[in-house]
Every structure is written in C-alpha cells, then in structure tokens.
C-alpha cells in the first residue's frame, strides 16, 4: 500500500511571540509526491522544513491549505523519523518499536526482520541509553518502517553522524525501502545525501518558503554507491540551476 500525497500550503504563520511580529514560515507552497516516490526536500536551515513535515504528518493543523492522501484528507499511516531518535529511555529497543505498532496490524515478524537488516538484533533488549547515536537512529528507522507506513517522513535523520556510519545506514535504509516501497518525504540540507537517496529533489527557499525548483534525479540506483557519480551529478545540477546553487 502506497499513496500519492498532494500538499498545498497557502500560508503557515506562527503567532507573534512576546517580543516580535508574527512569522510567516511557508507561503504558496505546493508539492505532490507520487505513490512510491522518494522525494528529498532540500533547503537552507531554518527555512521551515520541519514545520512542513509536521503539517504533512497531521501533527500541526493550524495552517491555510490542505494535505490530501490519495483520495482523502485523512493522513494514512505515517512513519515519522525525527531529527533526534526520540526513543523512550525507560523502554527497551524492542518495546520502543512494538509500542508504535498499530494494534490492528502488529507484525512482529517484520520487526525481527528489520532488526536483523539494521544489525540490531543483539541489542533489542537493551535500554536506549546504552546505545550509540548511530544505533539509536537505526532503532528510530526500524520503528518507522515496522508500522508499514503508507508515507514515511524523515527529518534529517542522519545529521551529526560520522560520514562512513551515515553512509552505511543510508544503504540499509534504501534496502528496506526497496523491500516494501512506499512514498517517502526526506528532509536534508546535504545535497550529496539527497542525490544518493532521492527520485526527485524539491528545493525550498528562505522563509516564507515555497518550492522554487524540482529536479528529477536520473542517476541509476546501482551507481549511487559511487561518490564520483554523485559528485558529478551535483556539479552538473549546480551548473544547470544557478538559482538552486544559492540555496545549498
């Protein structure tokens, strides 16, 4: 099960804080994710990417516009990977994952499989405080995949990891995604990471943010393990889209 997502945000404003004016973060933003498509959202930090993700996930309903899933406006099952792992420290790895499973469709075999792919099986009865950051982030990925999401939302899930570890987890991510494709909205400020993962890139500008450019990534998935191929595409992309170059 996978779904198309049509996002229209005509305006999202945060109310005035004690010492300032109301802040318009998003305006005139329009983005459609095709069913089963992996879309990377790229933009400068502080441009409202996390705000947009919260709107798409249905966590934030105070905005002008609409988010439509397939043929309804109710969010389907959404897997959410936050910037920090956000695991419950007083529950084990396994409990953290199983707590998120929907009651009507709890698939513990899938949990076993995902833990295995992410090399976490040996740690499933540990408490999160004993894990490294890389491992905690993998647990958060397993939790998101285990609920069999129709839409997977990821908010810079590999930030502050060493490059080799981040790369390894990216490979694992692509592997589990291929096993059971679903629509993905992935936020990053790292253009190389975006190229390595995405079918399509969507660029956001500084606030009030909207989608200023969309670029199809035509690099075959088999070539994406090679840094040189990614770097070549990145250079071409910046040459072709000078407006985008300013944003990243």
């Amino acid at each position: 099960m996978t779904t198309q997502v049509r996002i229209e945000v005509s305006r999202k404003t945060f109310p005035a804080s004690a010492n300032g004016l109301p802040l318009t973060v998003l305006a005139g933003l329009s983005l459609t994710l095709d069913a089963g498509e992996f879309v990377c959202l790229v933009g400068p930090s502080g441009c409202g990417k996390s705000t947009l993700l919260n709107i798409v996930a249905g966590l934030d309903r105070s905005f002008e516009g609409s988010v439509e899933f397939g043929d309804s406006t109710e969010p389907h099952r959404v897997g959410h990977v936050f910037q920090e792992p956000r695991l419950l420290p007083w529950r084990t790895v396994r409990q953290n994952i199983e707590l998120a499973l929907p009651a009507e469709d709890a698939d513990t075999d899938l949990v076993d499989h995902l833990l295995d792919v992410m090399e976490l099986s040996a740690f499933q009865h540990q408490y999160p405080e004993r894990l490294s950051l890389g491992m905690s982030r993998r647990v958060a990925l397993v939790r998101a995949f285990a609920i069999k999401p129709t839409l997977l939302i990821m908010d810079e899930p590999f930030v502050s990891l060493d490059a080799p570890i981040a790369r390894r987890i990216r490979e694992q991510l692509v592997r589990v995604w291929h096993e059971r494709p679903h629509t993905v909205l992935f936020v990053t400020h790292d253009l190389r990471e975006a190229i390595a993962l995405a079918d399509r890139l969507a660029f956001l500008c500084a606030p009030p943010a909207r989608v200023v450019a969309e670029v199809q990534v035509d690099l075959p998935r088999d070539d994406r393990g090679r840094e040189s191929a990614i770097e070549a595409l990145r250079k071409r992309l910046i040459a072709d889209h000078p407006d985008v170059a300013r944003l990243v």
Binding site: L59, W90, R91, A100, Y127, R130, R143
Partner: protein, 247 residues
C-alpha cells in the same frame, strides 16, 4: 569485606556506648540506660499498649498519605499543564505553603471539632501544597519531543499516559512520597497530642506529664524502626525499579 562496610555499625555502637556512659554518670531517672529503655520497650510491646497506639498512628498516616498524594498529585499535574490555572492559583499555593502546621491543626479542630476527620484533614492540608509544587515541576519538565512522537505514532491516551508520561513523573512522585512521609510522621504526632485520645502523640503527651523518659525513648525507638522498615522495603526497591533503565 571492606572496612567502610562496618562504619554504620561501629557508629551505632559508639552512640549506644556514649548514651550508656552518660546515663551511668547522671544516675537519674530522667536519663535511663539503653538497657532500661529496652526493658520498657519489651514490656510495652508484650502488654500491647505500644502496638495498639502505633497501629492507630500508622492507620492515620496511611489514610492521610494516600489522600495528600492523590489530591496534591492531581492539582500539581493540572497546574503544571495549564498555565492560566497556575498563574491564578500560584498565590494560594504560596499562602498555604507558609501557614504554620500548628495553625492549620488548631483551626481544623476549632472548625471541625475534636474528631478523626479533623485530624486527617489537618495532616492532609499541611502536606498537599508541597506535593503540588513537586508534581507541578514534574509536569512542566515533561519532554515535548516524546509527546510529539507519541502523537505521530498514534499512541492514544492510555498508552501515552502509561509509557510516556508516567515514567517521567515517577521520580517526582517518589521524591514527594519520601519527603511527604517524613513530614507527615512529624505532624501527625502533634495532631494526636492536641486533639486525640489515642495514638503515639497522645501517649507521648501522657509520658511527658509523668516525666517517664524511658517510655518516651521506647516509643521513639519503635517509631524509628517502622520508618526505616518502610524506607527499606518499600521506597528503596521502588526507587531502584524506577531507575533501572539509566546507565
């Protein structure tokens, strides 16, 4: 075994020995020896007087403790959660925190009569404000990131309460319970002394009038044993359990 393990034991022996020496030197009924106190303790236990009064006090303690924790906990969570409520009632809290315990006790007896209800009410009113303050802090400290995660994964009310909120409040509940018990122990004796005809406080008053220091010390001894038993068999295990996930 490392020598430090013996320190508490040695310190206790030193205390009893100094007491004994002082009693021998004073040779007065106003400072009995440890052995004399122990004899009185055994007699009081055997004849049932001590156990009866201790039991009455324990029952009052249990009832007022449960009431104070429930009422104070509920109010604390509400004040921690709703900012306007907190702003509005903050002055009440400050006021109640600063009313001397003795005043509350006297007023409760004056307004409600010398009854069991008045005694319990007095203890509860003394304890509730500090529970409110502790649980208000705990509620304010709740991790909003985890609450958002629970919402994203549709935990629902019950799951969120049990797995996200309760474990975060537990250390604050433990802290409120421990300080609460210590406070109630002390207040309840005054309550009994002023307006009840049974319980530890009442007995201590009788012994005071008869200048029976041995009995006063024997009752104190019983008291300390009970407090330490509760601490050791209830609070320590609960505390360990609530912390086992920590590194």
């Amino acid at each position: 075994m490392r020598p430090e393990r013996w320190y508490p034991f040695a310190a206790l022996v030193l205390l009893v020995a100094s007491w004994h020496a002082a009693a021998l030197w004073a040779t007065s009924p106003l400072l009995p020896t440890p052995v004399q106190v122990l004899k009185v303790f055994v007699v009081e236990v055997a004849e049932g007087g001590l156990l009866y009064h201790l039991g009455i006090t324990m029952a009052r303690l249990a009832v007022s403790f449960v009431l104070a924790m429930t009422i104070g906990g509920t109010l604390g969570v509400m004040l921690g959660r709703y900012r306007h409520l907190d702003r509005f009632f903050d002055i009440w809290l400050t006021l109640f925190l600063n009313i001397p315990a003795l005043v509350t006790i006297i007023l409760c007896y004056v307004w409600l009569g010398l009854s069991e209800a008045a005694a319990i009410t007095a203890v509860v009113i003394n304890k509730v404000p500090s529970v409110v303050v502790t649980l208000r802090e705990g509620t304010r400290a709740l991790d909003t990131d985890l609450l958002e995660m629970a919402r994203a994964y549709r935990f629902g009310r019950w799951k969120t309460l049990r797995h996200v909120i309760w474990p975060q409040l537990l250390p604050f509940i433990m802290a409120a319970s421990r300080t609460g018990l210590a406070l109630i122990w002390k207040i309840i004796l005054v309550v009994e002394l002023l307006g009840r005809s049974n319980g530890m406080g009442y007995q201590l008053q009788l012994f005071f009038q008869m200048f029976d220091v041995s009995a006063i010390l024997a009752y104190t001894f019983a008291f300390v044993i009970v407090v330490q038993t509760v601490e050791f068999f209830v609070f320590k295990p609960l505390d360990l359990r609530s912390r086992r996930w920590r590194r």
